[in-house]
Amino acid sequence: MDAIVQIIVSGVTLGAMYALASVGLALTFGTMGMFNMAHGLFMTIGAYVTYSAAAVLNLPLGIAILAGLTAGGAVGALMHLVIVRFMLDREDFRTTIMVATAGVAILLQDLILKYYGAYPFRQPAQIEGTFRIGNVAVPYQSLAILVTAAVLIGATAWLLKKTRFGLAIRATAMNQDAAKLMGVKTERTYLQVIIIAGVLAAAAGILISSMASLSPGMGTNPLIRAFVICVVAGLGSVAGAGMTALALGVMEAAIGYYFGARFGFPILLGLVILVLIFRPAGLFGKAEVIRS
């Protein structure tokens, strides 16, 4: 019984972080067919800026977190304005944008390494203490992560489904030309989508660093998880990504508990590949559109 509670608590915490990490990735891919290799660096930047604002500048935690989120969105916007914008009309956009964002990733990672060094700083944005479910000690931080992820993903879903702004995004995702003909300024929509993805990634980065610590390469691990989640959910499915993330988080925690932590991800990946052999379109179907 305690084992199951333990698995669910750590699994859901993991899953919530992975969900936050993957929703932005799925959103950008679903809207513009852009696979962003620099998504992991958006997480890293969000985490480091929050750290700097709180631990170095001694700003209140709320403002520090806000600064981190803003930084994630700003880096996304910058990448769009300087690079992505000029590549959108290319025939082989899907391939070349991956190459270009890989370049952005390595550049940003190097800049962070140069500025902060490789020292694993402790993220100040966290809550101390635990409470108990049965015999299992649950950190308040786990609860905070779950709530933050749920709120942010819920807000994103609401934005997509219920607002005029979301309508424009969904229309653009389904048919770019038709959206333009309806008066949707798709170029601006793309910019907005990348900013949202940047903010969500930064939030994921802050949460992840609060559980582990800060390092220039901290984005890689969750990015790979996000990759796998998107593969299983079908790229572009935002709600699917959220659900898959939770499921995979719990599974990884269970495998880790029974077979050792280092096998959590490998066994999961093996299972995913096995599933894909029989369902090449992913678990949630094949359409590459946003179904929120």
Binding site: F29, F35, I83, F86, M87, R90, R94, T95, T96, M98, V99, A100, A102, G103, V104, A105, I106, L107, L108, Q109, D110, L111, L113, K114, T220, I224, F227, V228, C230, V231, L235, R262, F265, P266, L269, I273, L276, I277, P280, G282
Partner: protein, 343 residues
Amino acid sequence: MMGSGVLTRHLVGLIGFAALMAVVPFFVTQRYFLGEIVLFMIWASVAIQWNVLLGHAGVFSLGQMLFFAIGAYSVGMLGVFYDVTPWLSMPVGAVVAAVAAFIIGIACLRLTMPYVALLTFAIVFMVDSLIRTDVECFMSHGGRCLPLFGGGQGFSGFDDLGFRKLLKGKWIVGNYFVVLTVLLLSLLASIVVIHGRLGLAFRALHDSRVYAAARGMNRTRFHVVAFVVTAFFTGLTGAVYAAHFRFAGPSLFEFPTLVIVMAMIVVGGLKSTWGPIVGAAAMMLLIEFAKGWGDIQNALVGTVLILFVLLLPKGLSGVISAGVEKMVKAEPSRTDQASPAKQ
């Protein structure tokens, strides 16, 4: 018929390149520079194979360094655990890489482009973290406990190609020619693939998937064949890397390494035949010069990659061939000026 003419032209080019590279050690004698050229040839070979997949077959694999590492680890493991000479373990490494590619290819290549990229990347990451976190003792070596895949340290200090005994101070020249042979094999294979029947199939698949399907061409099968062939030569290159440096470790999986090779392809010109060689040379020179400006290699590589994708998507080979075309066209236009009646 036209295709075989192109093939012949590239093969003549290959012979010329081979001759050029073969005389280099007679003029360049400093070990440092020869070592850098050896490294250039290794990365050029990896880039050549990756370009076949990325630029020609349309397979967006991010798993190339895995096959490179399989070749390297084969040499390292067989050398450390069983004292096998690299001459034997190199072909073994290439074959193991090809077999691994076959298994991964069958599992992943039915998916569409972005999924292939995601999965191959995830597989490399998984292998990397499994190797790094392995602490179980497989064999004691030199008073040190060594896990089966070498753990975070990897393998080093195993038997080399034997030129240190044979050629003494000039051992690197021996290694040079072994690496050159591998590069030439890799280049030959790429030329045959790109301009042979397989390349024709890739172009047919690229131009019209429906037509190709109607002709009974199976996209996945061609992709798996390309995946296995390129993995074989990438593995062979990894094996010769390990034999030259007497090292194989998880640092081969690092993201910057992948991006540097990617930059070589893009700088040289994606979809070209000789671009990766041009690109590898250009990137090696750039990195060499950048050493004088401090430790900025990765930031520089990233910037160059972005600039080329944005501004010169056809790479240096695109610039060169456009320049050649201009010169060819400029010739008759000059004669036009001489006879003003023509316009």
